[in-house]
Structures are given as C-alpha cells and as structure tokens.
Amino acid sequence: MNRIILLVDDDIFQLRLFEKLLTSNGYNCKIALSVDEAESILQSETPDLIVSDYEMPGKDGFEFRRRLLEQDAFKNIPFLFLTSINDKENVQQGLDLKAIDYIAKNTPPSHILSKIDNLLQAVREHYERSLSEIKGIAERLNLRNIPKNAPVLKNFQIDYFNQSFQNQPGGDFIDFIQVNDRYTFIILGDVMGKKWGAWFFSFSFLSYIRSAIRLCVFDENYSLSQILNKLNRVVHADELLSDIFSTLGIVLLDDETGSVKYAGAGDLPVLKFEEHSEELHYFKSDGILLGFSEFGDYSEMDIEIKEGEELYMISDGMIDFEINGEKKSDINLFKEKLFNFKKNKETTLTIKNRLFDKHASQVDDCSIIIIKKV
C-alpha cells in the first residue's frame, strides 16, 4: 500500500516538483496551497507524513503545526518542515513544535527523499515493535478471540479462517463451545469497528456469550432463541457496552442426530452449498444487533443439511471488496465466487486461499466458518 504524504506550500511550482519526486519514488501525494486547504484534506485523508512550508500567506507553517497538535486525530502524524527560512531561531521554533525535522529547501532532492524514506521506515519499525509487544502480551494472557482449533465431530467437519485487517487484531470473533458429546455451539461475531478498539470489546461479548450458553445448558435449555434473548438483555444492560454493538451468529450442531439449528443478531445470512443447485442458498436470521434494544425478539430455525453439503458463516469483511480503488459491499459477488469454487470441486484449503488472496484489497477483518456434513 502506497504511503500518503500531504505536501503544504503556497508555491505551486515547488509543490509540483516535490510531488513528482515523491510519486516517482512510490509515494502517494496530496497537495495543499494553504493551511486551510491542508486542513480540509485532513478531514477526509489521514496521511502518513505531513511536509509543510513555513512562510505562507494567511496561516503559516508554525500556526498549522500548533493547530494540529491541539487535535488528537492529527497530533501524532509525523510532521516536518521544508522551507527556505532557515535561521537558527526558526529552526529551533519548528523543532520545539515537535516537528521531526526542519529541512532547507535547497537541500539536494536525493537527500530530502532519503530523509523521508528513513523517517517513514523508522516510524514503521517503531509501530511494528509496539504491535509485536502487544500481541506478545495478549498471547501470554491467553486473550484469544479466534480459537486455535476446531472440535472434531462424528457427523460434521468444521474449518475456519480469519484474516485481520492490516495485520492487527480486530472485532471478528469465533468460538466453538462443545458442551457435551452431543451438542456443539459455533459462534461467529463481529464487533462494529476495526483494529484494537473492536478487539478489546470482543472479549466482553465473548464472555457474555459463553456464560449465556453455559447457564442455559445447565438448565438443559438448548433453545438458541432463548439464549440470544437472554444474552441481548444482559448486553443491553451493560453500560460499558452502551455505545458498542456486535453482530452474532450461533449455529448449534447435534452430533447425534446430525441436525443443525441457527439464530442470529444482525449477522450476515448463513450460506449453503448443495450439489445440484444453481447457486448458494441462504438462511437469514431475524434478530437485530445485540444490545440495541432490551427486547430483540430473536427466533431460531432448523437448517437441513445432507452428507457432502456445506454451510458457511461469514463476517462482513468477506463481502467487502475494493475494485479499481472503489470499495463496495456485495454479498452476491461473494456468493458467486464461492459457488464457482465449489462447482469446480476446489478443496477447502484452495477455497480459503483464493477467497482471502483474491480480495483485490482487504478492507476489514474477514472470517469464514465452513461446516460440512460428513
């Protein structure tokens, strides 16, 4: 992915010159002729680096930097001055404003480019180190919202795949709760949001889901409808989650009879492949997002599945595509792809590889659970 640099200078000639230098070296540039223009761009783009002139009509570079520092969303974007005003006092003032560097415009272009390359490389390495540390801590604490293995059953084969967005844990969560030899609950949820924020809250939802299932099962209650209704009321009552919403799909496998039940809350339909069908079937649950209202009215349904047939539970990232720079959500496109893979008798592993790799560009966490009747 090309890194974005926001260039700010009132001199259009200079702007075009640096834009050419940077774009020909793999960067994606946004240019602004004034601080106001730059601030307008920042409303819709978050660059990886801001390079700004100092002397500009209206607001100058220092004022621009001060304004950015006052805003949480912008204060941590690496910032450097590129200017022809290079007296000691100005350089010091610029650096005091937490600018990473203060570069003279008459510096040879190759040096400027190297400085920017090195700077972005250092930022990237710092980020990777921090990410790796947090991941390590999560691993040690056994904080896992995607399990290590799927249970092995007599009548069903379960495969699952999850790919996080930009290599950061996200809001998709999967769980398999095998309560006894007969019943296994399969959980796929998606906390609305991305990256760490969503990841953090996925554990709150997972804890509630596990508890709701266990408590109902203690009373010999295997009704998905009742489990979801109880779960929803608890989530709704939790003030910490008042602003956080999650979708949820629950499938209950009966390994004795081979039957399947399903209920959901704001989740995408469960898809089904049948050998002699012309397309994937789908089963749509009727529940709304967990926690939105106290009474969600969740009902369950039976899904008939024969030997060799497959069910697919998916998160919304699976139906998000970026094609020619345009993002879109398209379940029909996903269904068509998956159906063609199945018709061509591709293996599960090949399907997984092609589904995940063939995304022109992943725009969210992606999860799929494949349940095959064997």
């Binding site: 307008s40 609305m192 969503a198």
Partner: protein, 112 residues
C-alpha cells in the same frame, strides 16, 4: 469528516460529503452529531448522497446515534443510500431499526 448542515424548521439535515464513511471518520462523525443532539436537535436527517462505501465502524456510530436519539424520544432518518449500502442494511436487519427514505422530501414528510 466533511459534513454540511442545514435546517428546515426544527429538522437538522446533515449531508456527508465524503465518499468513504469509514473507521477514520466514524468517531469524529459521532462526536459532531452528539454535539448537535446535546444542543437540542432531536429530529435529524442524514444524507448519504455522496457516500459510496460505509464500513462497520461507521455503521456502529450510526447505531449509537440512533440509540441516543431514541432514548430522547427523537427521530433519525437516513436518506439517499446507494443500492449496496441499502442492501447491507437489509441483509443485517438494520432496516428494521433505521428509518430509510429515498429523498429529502419524503424524509421531511415523515417528520410531519
């Protein structure tokens, strides 16, 4: 987040100018609308005329806004959603909780 505002009597109309309504903008958008609600606006229309793609973070922000308005006996109507976004609302039952209208005129009618 680029949002333009206009008022028709006590109705607040917010037009999202960006074509991507995503994670980087969802929190800011929620803050903008929450401020409007705290200033007394409880009848709100949000236009998605320019929006081509909406991610789950932004959907979460919309649901939080709706929940806040419902608690205040307010009303939220979303208008001019493209087919992909409308399908996403229908697929995930969000059409059951949101009032979706095709145009500003029909939305304004709905508030009368």
């Amino acid at each position: 987040m680029n949002v333009t505002k206009q008022n028709i009597d006590d109705l607040l109309i917010l037009i999202i100018v960006d074509k991507d309504a995503n994670l980087t903008k969802s929190e800011n958008f929620k803050e903008i609308v929450f401020k409007e609600i705290e200033s007394g606006s409880t009848k709100i229309i949000i236009s998605f005329e320019h929006v081509e793609y909406l991610d789950s973070s932004f959907l979460g922000a919309l649901v939080a806004i709706l929940k806040k308005l419902v608690a205040l006996q307010g009303k939220l109507t979303l208008i001019e959603l493209n087919n992909d976004i409308r399908n996403l609302f229908e697929l995930t039952r969000l059409d059951k909780i949101f009032d979706l209208k095709n145009s500003l005129d029909t939305a304004v009618e709905g508030f009368k």
